[in-house]
């Protein structure tokens, strides 16, 4: 897609969708049938996808708001004010001057080089990553791996996409999944053929300048029998967005004996509502791991789910959330044990500071015939001050008598004695607190690839210094 003259991109236009080559760059505000048809037409989608979107739109309209999470914020969403589709090339036309000062300052303090900052802010493409991307692309293509943005995936592998798209998270799953299904754009399509092991983690980052950094990303990962892959989503710089609603849908399918790890570190700007539906299906002997880090945003509601549908399937959800001033992180996990000898481990860690609120919301369900299922849930909350808050809403529905269930929840405060001990070794009060926080999230950080671990530690340090965003 050619980048258009950035000067054409100011203002708001409304054009007919029939003229594909016109200078339409974004849909008008609000979502109705016209807009949905427009999005689908611009992308040149097959008819079944248009029907899928239109059905989803109906479901979105009929579906009430969730009554949990944070009602007050959810009820405040004005769906008519949102622009649902912006053409990717146009996003790249954003100028550096338009990027908010707060974001620039953050980049500054992160010590990110100028070129990279512009790239992270969506201002320009990063050529180095393009090169990296191509060499990886060559290598994995030889193995038959398909790694594309979702739109290209739909174009180039219509049968695969049609067969699996929306099967893990049907469009009527919840209001935001419906919304995504109607308005989705961008995201990743990844297919790993039978028996193929992708050795290096695949990062959306590698193809970010081709990515539509959409608010309604749609990702589908399919790991065929006996294959394995690690996918990493999101860059760790504050995702700059002028839009305030993000409702992504991520579907994972791990066939017999396959293994998928999906790592996310997200750091949204403070105005964003991040309402994401993530779900995986793990077949016989398959393993799915969600590694999920949530920073920033005003409200995040995210509960990565795993359906263990085949015997001996394994699932793991490892997450951290950091809630600062004015933020609510409502995160957790859902695991359904629908087959015998399935195993799940949920580890959730949250940090609240400056009146921030972190909630753990979890559901574990064990079906009557899931004999020998093993469940282990551990949630730890760390409060940095009196004004902050943490809640846990764990739900267990165990219908099988011989399942083994472990549940543990702790809430701790950063202790005076810990701070005193560290300070007596020369650390400042801030360093001492940061050290304790870093120690608290260590079990999470050590699961991350090196560069993300370093990055996450940097972000936490910034959060703790109190003036990000």
């Amino acid at each position: 897609m050619e980048a258009r003259n950035p000067h054409d991109l100011v203002g708001e236009y409304r054009y007919g969708f029939a003229d594909e080559d016109c200078s339409v760059f974004q849909t008008r505000r609000g979502l109705d049938e016209d807009v949905v048809r427009q999005i689908s037409a611009i992308k040149g989608e097959p008819d079944w996808m248009l029907q899928f979107r239109l059905d989803a739109l109906r479901m979105f309209r009929e579906r009430p708001m969730p009554r949990w999470g944070n009602r007050e914020i959810l009820d405040g969403i004005d769906f008519d004010r949102i622009v649902y589709y912006v053409r990717p090339a146009d996003r790249q036309g954003t100028t550096w001057e338009e990027v908010p000062q707060g974001i620039k300052d953050t980049f500054e303090r992160l010590g990110i080089p100028e070129a990279e900052r512009k790239f992270l802010a969506g201002v320009s493409a990063q050529y180095e990553s393009e090169v990296v991307y191509h060499s990886i692309q060559d290598e994995i293509e030889k193995q038959g791996v398909v790694f594309l943005d979702m739109d290209s995936g739909l174009r180039e592998h219509p049968d695969l996409v049609r067969r699996y798209f929306g099967t893990v998270i049907p469009p009527n799953d919840n209001k935001f999944a419906s919304l995504n299904s109607a308005a989705w754009s961008g995201g990743t399509f990844l297919y790993v053929p039978k028996g193929v092991h992708v050795k290096i983690p695949l990062q959306a980052y590698f193809r970010i300048n081709r990515r539509d950094m959409g608010q309604f990303e749609r990702t589908l990962i399919l790991a065929d029998e006996g294959s394995s892959v690690h996918y990493i989503e999101g860059c760790t710089a504050p995702s700059y967005s002028t839009d305030s609603l993000h409702a992504a849908v991520v579907e994972l399918i791990a066939m017999k004996g396959a293994r998928i790890r999906y790592t996310t570190i997200q750091n949204w700007s403070r105005n964003v509502l991040n309402l994401v539906t993530k779900r995986a299906v793990a077949h016989e002997d398959a393993t799915v791991e969600w590694v999920d880090g949530n920073l920033g945003s005003r409200l995040t509601m995210k509960y990565p789910a795993i359906h263990l549908v085949g015997p001996r399937a394994r699932g793991e959800v490892l997450s951290i959330a950091f809630a600062g001033a004015g933020q609510h992180q409502d995160a957790g996990a859902k695991v359904i044990h629908a087959a015998p000898d399935t195993t799940s481990t949920i580890t959730s860690k949250s940090i609240s500071r400056d009146g921030g609120r972190a909630s753990y919301r979890g559901l574990v369900k064990v079906h009557p015939d899931a004999h020998g299922a093993k469940v282990s849930v551990k949630c730890d909350a760390l409060l940095l001050d009196e004004a902050s808050r943490s809640d846990t809403y764990p739900t267990m529905e165990i219908a099988c008598e011989d399942a083994s269930i472990g549940h543990e929840a702790t809430v701790s405060k950063v202790g005076d004695d810990q701070v005193f001990y560290l300070r007596s070794r020369g650390l400042t009060e801030e360093e001492a607190t940061l050290t304790i926080v870093n120690g608290f999230i260590e079990p999470f950080v050590k699961e991350l690839p090196m560069e993300y671990a370093v990055e996450l530690n940097r972000l936490i340090r910034l959060e703790m210094s109190g003036s990000v965003g």
Partner: protein, 265 residues
């Protein structure tokens, strides 16, 4: 009394009539203590008499408020300094009960501590060598470098790590709060050896202890008896032996006479 290391030299620590407590309760009731360069002071006294409180107050624990008196450290007003400043100025506390900080590996903590106290960053290789030597010196297995700070450590392991920090950070004055408690016979020897080497290297020491044993390895210049929030008696090494055989009861002087210095000896 054994040979005074630096008779007449300017004191490192001067505590004058120190009163302190917490939550409206007074625990320290007029402590006087003067430590000169190179000296080793032992403090002995009953459980709950306020010995740990004294070390905490000197290090600046926020739980205690100072109600009166004066403390000078290397000529500076210690009570005006925050905890970090005290550590950086050369004051060290080996804790009676070191706290655990889960998730923080010992090696990275030690490196941070070294950088913070000494203000210089040791290159990674040099640091590893230093650490290995120090570990070997205190009989700590290398595997402890990657364990989390005091997390799941046995009592004796914690004490060894406290002394390791003493060795590494080379303070001017070390407050050692029952660093000899809870150690087996071999561990006591190793730990005492570490303390003795620090003293040889010039560190002045205030050693809180219940036992005479450690004093066989670390010879005190002065022994103080601490009762009910203050020092009630001061003597030489022989005082420790006397306490060991006689206990503290004979020191419980009638009210009004206890604070009047080296009475009766």
């Amino acid at each position: 009394m054994s040979g005074e290391a630096a008779e007449g030299a300017a004191p490192i620590l001067e505590v004058r009539d120190l009163w302190a407590g917490t939550g409206g309760k007074t625990i320290l009731k007029g402590v006087d203590l003067v430590v000169r360069p190179g000296e080793v002071h032992a403090i002995m006294g009953r459980n709950g008499s306020g010995k740990s409180t004294l070390t905490h107050v000197l290090m600046g624990h926020p739980a205690y408020e100072v109600q009166g008196g004066e403390v000078r450290f290397l000529g500076r007003n210690l009570l005006e300094m925050d905890v970090t400043q005290r550590a950086r100025a050369g004051l060290f506390l080996a804790f009676q009960y070191p706290v655990a900080v889960p998730g923080v590996p010992v090696s990275s903590f030690l490196r941070t501590a070294l950088r913070s106290v000494k203000g210089r960053d040791v290159p990674a290789r040099e640091f590893r060598r230093t650490l290995q030597a120090a570990f070997a010196d205190l009989g700590i297995p290398d595997a402890f470098a990657s364990r989390y700070l005091n997390d799941g450590f046995s009592g004796g392991e914690k004490k060894r790590l406290e002394v390791l920090q003493l060795r590494l950070l080379e303070p001017t004055l070390a407050l050692l709060d029952e660093t000899d408690s809870g150690l087996d016979i071999d561990a006591l020897k190793t730990v005492s050896g570490g303390i003795a080497r620090s003293i040889e290297a010039g560190v002045s020491v205030v050693l809180v202890t219940h036992y005479q044993r450690i004093l066989q390895y670390v010879t005190p210049h002065v022994v103080h008896v601490f009762l009910d929030g203050r020092i009630v008696r001061t003597g030489g090494a022989e005082l420790a032996r006397e306490l060991e055989s006689r206990g503290y009861d004979w020191l419980d002087a009638p009210p009004g006479t206890a604070a009047s210095g080296p009475a009766g000896a």
